[in-house]
């Protein structure tokens, strides 16, 4: 008889809260030698938010994986702490320069977004009691995903563009990144669509040069997604999101059909598309130039093609070294927009290689727990969805962390749970909710069959 392990979750969560509060206190001590003024209020709100999530899980998903919520809460908390640290830089007499792209209410806002994220998390658990419920809305969600993606491309720049990235919907000072939600909607659509079509996709086709090629009409959806992601890339200057969608779809296609040919076709299509667009559109090519020659003086201070942000991030990580400067002791404020895409470099600078590796392992653990749920669950739709969501989380971490650490060309996407901004945070919580719902389904014991009283009874000892 499996156990729900909610007690484990509670203890792990308490540990996560303790780590976050310690980090928060450490920021204050590091900056000006005093405990931060908001230690009680922010600390308490954070604890209330995550323990509320825990209670909701006890009620709504008692069999869910016990690690996911503490891990997500830890990441969310550390992200808020780092945003607080960055916001305080150069303000209230603290050392460093003030970051002009942040205001004194940024942390407060991020705490509010965290609360909204947890509300969304609870709502998803409450509304979607079984993963298969989602299958009813296959095409609705597919259309919703494409529309969300397309809106920024269609809106005028004043309502969709921030610093060259045309991925926003801005209405009256309030901005959301629809791509973050499109990602989830399309994951559900893909899972649902592929479960329905996987037999045709897997079995029909011709064998050419040892590779099983699918039928032309089965290629249709793949080509549509490919074209869509290329369009995002071109119109929204967003190679990262495009890579994310494409990677997610190819991975799910592979899980559904188990055919390596899909992987090959997918990767070739993506590389080809990227190559062509980099030839046609300057901004894609620039990313490669910066990646290869970041320290070239003409790019470090380049007016048009600039590697300044990347180089500052690398300098920060270099200064951090193995143990880091300590929270509040570094100079992450030199990296432009460090609170969003480059937040991991701030962690690298102040918590060092040690802290950054710990963060990567936390992400890795969430992905691993998600894939575990995918393997364990029986329903093919849930399996596919869990696999796709876990993979897209891993891919997103890979693309952004790899980008800012110069493993791959830099593409601006958010770091799940850590980056400043509501859309990313809420969608990350929803992603965790979906994974926990699936793991709850996987681990929930099957209902006991009603036994004939007259026949042999199984008597358990203990």
């Amino acid at each position: 008889m499996p156990r729900g392990r909610r007690r484990t979750e509670f203890l792990m969560l308490a540990f996560a809260v303790a780590v976050v509060l310690f980090a928060y206190a450490s920021v204050g001590l590091g900056l000006n030698g005093k405990l931060p003024a908001g230690l009680i209020t922010y600390g308490l709100s954070y604890a209330v938010i995550v323990f509320a999530a825990h209670l909701a899980v006890r009620w709504l998903a008692p069999w869910a994986d016990p690690l996911m919520l503490p891990l997500a809460a830890l990441l969310n908390g550390l992200g808020v702490v780092m945003i607080y640290r960055l916001q305080q830089s150069g303000r209230d007499g603290n050392p460093g320069n003030a970051i002009s792209t942040m205001s004194t209410s940024t942390t407060m806002l991020q705490v509010i977004w965290s609360a909204v994220g947890v509300v969304a998390f609870v709502a998803v658990l409450a509304i979607i009691r079984e993963p298969r419920v989602l299958q009813r809305y296959t095409y609705t969600l597919g259309a919703l995903g494409l529309v969300l993606l397309a809106i920024p491309a269609l809106l005028p720049a004043s309502m969709s563009s921030v610093k060259g990235a045309k991925v926003w919907i801005i209405i009256g000072g309030f901005s959301i990144q629809p791509g973050e939600f499109a990602k989830l909607a399309l994951a559900v659509f893909f899972a649902s669509y592929l479960v329905a079509k996987r037999d045709v996709l897997a079995l029909a086709g011709r064998r050419v040069l040892g590779i099983d090629l699918p039928r032309g009409r089965d290629l249709g959806p793949v080509l549509i997604v490919w074209a869509t992601s290329l369009l995002i890339l071109v119109f929204e200057t967003d190679i990262g999101t495009s890579a994310l969608f494409f990677g997610m779809f190819v991975a799910m296609l592979y899980i559904a059909t188990q055919r390596t040919s899909w992987l090959l076709i997918g990767v070739l299509l993506f590389l080809g598309g990227t190559y062509i667009t980099s030839m046609l559109f300057g901004h894609v090519g620039e990313r490669f130039t910066i990646w290869l020659h970041p320290f070239d003086p003409q790019y470090v201070n380049g007016a048009v093609v600039s590697s300044y942000q990347l180089v500052q991030g690398l300098y920060g990580m270099g200064v951090g070294g193995i143990l880091g400067t300590g929270l509040g002791h570094g100079q992450p404020f030199f990296t432009p927009l460090v609170q969003s895409d480059f937040i991991v470099t701030a962690f690298g600078e102040e918590l060092g290689l040690t802290g950054l590796m710990a963060l990567l392992l936390i992400f890795g653990l969430i992905v691993q727990r998600g894939l575990r749920a995918a393997v364990a669950v029986r329903d093919p739709f849930a399996k596919l969805l869990a696999g796709g969501l876990s993979f897209v989380l891993a891919l997103q971490v890979f693309v952004i962390v790899g980008g800012v650490t110069r493993l791959i060309p830099l593409t601006g996407i958010t770091t799940p749970f850590l980056s400043q901004g509501g859309s990313s945070l809420i969608s990350s919580w929803v992603l965790i909710a979906l994974l926990m719902r699936i793991s709850d389904t996987a681990r929930r014991p099957a209902p006991q069959p009603i036994q004939d009283e007259g026949m042999t009874q199984v008597v358990r000892a203990g």
Partner: protein, 499 residues
């Protein structure tokens, strides 16, 4: 589908492994090369976010010494700015610390002062956990604030009197080599270099750089001048060491004019006679006869004179105190006629004021030359010493025996105590309040001696129990006894607390 999921898990694992390897590469292996990249604004800025260590002059052995450079929090910010409380007085010692670089002790001990030295690493890891800001180490110097102040004031007064003549002086504790004063005039105000504004910094730097009087030049260790008659100390040492039978009482030929092998005549100053024309060495020394030492120079031979000069510290460019010291030069002179000139400190002889002080210090210390040094010790913020000078000093060389040293000491004593001595008028015990032993020099200068004579003086005091050795050069100052000796006297008085 589970097989595909497992393969996908491996792909996820591979992505995380790649990320982990890459962050290890960036933060562990590339960390140093990233932090030392030119243009790394973090490092550039960091040095002013932390409190740099102070520089303290301890040569007077009173209490904790005198702070001559420290970093102070700029009001309303978290930035530290370097401050030199005495302005130009200690400038040739401390140098400056600016956003574009550092000179002097600030440059030589930069890592220690900034707290980036390896030996401070343990302390900084501890501070990392205790949350204390990083501090630099404190550098304690051998400089005596009293002697340094006197040196600066004396050089300045001399310069004002003589229309801005450049001059420099070094004072050493002869028994250890500890440098007590090191001054050069005209000099600069290091506070002009502590601004955070690059444009202001460049402006004041340019002003100093283009000034004709070269205020940034540290003449005490980085400019050389002809030693003139002070070089007779070396010539005497060579001759006395050459034969145990020779003493200051041995007579030496000293005609009014010496006919050199090449036919030229070497005259005494103003064509004076020298005693009876065959005086004892000691008399030739205190009245400073050129002909006597010219002929001794010819007699002792080129190699012996060169070796003796090198033992006194000339011809070496390795000395660092820790500021690098320019080499003083005495080239091998095989031609006897030219050697006669080089033996009286003319021709190609060139010495730093520090070298002048080293002449007297050697004699004062019984013939043993101690390595001159400025840094007494360096103390980590936790008060642990990370570097200390040996309390007894380190021997640089043994130029002469103690016997010869004491003989030259007697001769130098006569320079200031005998009525016929060249420095009797300006450095006798009544004037100075202390027994000083010294040797004057008036070095002819320029092409065909067209330039003004440089005034030189090397001395130590008190004669019986030497505590301080001083070397002074006043460029174009004229007679060494008139221009240079009074400067040395003032420093000695200040250091010994006389008068």
């Amino acid at each position: 589908m589970n097989r595909a999921l497992l393969r996908l898990s491996l792909a996820c694992l591979a992505m995380f492994v790649l990320l982990l390897i890459n962050v290890n590469y960036v933060q562990a292996f590339e960390s140093t090369s990233l932090t030392t990249k030119p243009g790394n604004i973090r490092i550039f800025d960091q040095q002013f976010q932390y409190q740099r260590g102070s520089i303290i002059a301890t040569g007077d052995h009173t209490g904790g010494g005198v702070k001559i450079a420290d970093s102070r929090l700029v009001k309303g910010t978290s930035t530290y700015r370097r401050y030199y409380p005495f302005g130009p007085v200690f400038a040739p010692v401390t140098g400056y610390d600016s956003i574009y670089g550092a000179t002097g002790i600030e440059g030589a001990e930069d890592k220690e002062l900034a707290g980036t030295d390896q030996r401070l690493a343990v302390h900084n890891i501890v501070s990392l956990f205790t949350g204390k800001p990083r501090l630099g180490a404190t550098v304690f110097l051998t400089i005596s604030p009293k002697a340094q102040q006197a040196a600066y004031q004396a050089l300045k007064a001399q310069s004002v009197k003589d229309n801005g003549l450049p001059s420099a002086v070094v004072a050493i504790d002869p028994s250890t080599g500890a440098i007590l004063a090191l001054a050069s005039y005209p000099t600069f105000n290091p506070n002009a270099y502590t601004t955070f504004s690059g444009t202001r910094l460049v402006k004041s730097d340019n002003r100093y750089r283009h000034e004709k009087s070269q205020p940034l030049l540290n003449r005490a260790i980085n400019a050389t001048y002809p030693p003139g008659s002070t070089f007779k100390v070396v010539t005497s040492a060579t001759w006395l060491s050459g034969n145990a039978g020779r003493s200051p009482q041995s007579t030496v030929p000293a005609p009014p004019a010496l006919k050199l092998p090449n036919g030229n005549l070497l005259h005494n100053d103003a064509g004076e006679t020298c005693g009876n024309g065959n005086p004892p060495l000691i008399q030739a020394f205190y009245v400073s006869c050129n002909t006597a030492f010219g002929s001794l120079g010819i007699k002792v031979g080129a190699r012996a004179l060169l070796n003796q000069a090198s033992l006194f510290g000339l011809n070496s460019s390795k000395l660092a105190i820790p500021l690098p010291v320019s080499a003083s030069r005495y080239p091998l002179e095989p031609d006897p006629s030219l050697r006669a000139l080089s033996a009286i400190g003319q021709l190609d002889d060139q010495v730093t004021p520090l070298q002048e002080a080293m002449f007297a210090a050697t004699i004062a210390n019984g013939g043993t030359l101690m390595t001159p040094y400025l840094v007494q010790n360096i103390q980590a913020p936790d008060l642990r010493n990370i570097q200390s000078a040996s309390p007894t000093g380190t021997v640089l060389s043994k130029p002469v025996s103690s016997q010869v040293a004491s003989e030259i000491g007697q001769m130098m004593f006569q320079v200031t105590h005998n009525q016929g001595g060249t420095a009797f008028a300006t450095a006798n015990p009544q004037v100075a309040g202390v027994d000083i032993s010294g040797k004057t020099g008036t070095a002819e200068n320029g092409v065909n001696n067209a330039g003004l004579n440089d005034a030189v003086f090397t001395c130590f005091a008190p004669s019986a129990n030497p505590k301080i050795a001083v070397g002074v050069i006043v460029q174009g100052g004229g007679f060494g006894a008139d221009a240079a000796a009074p400067i040395a006297v003032k420093i000695i008085q200040a250091y010994l607390g006389r008068k």
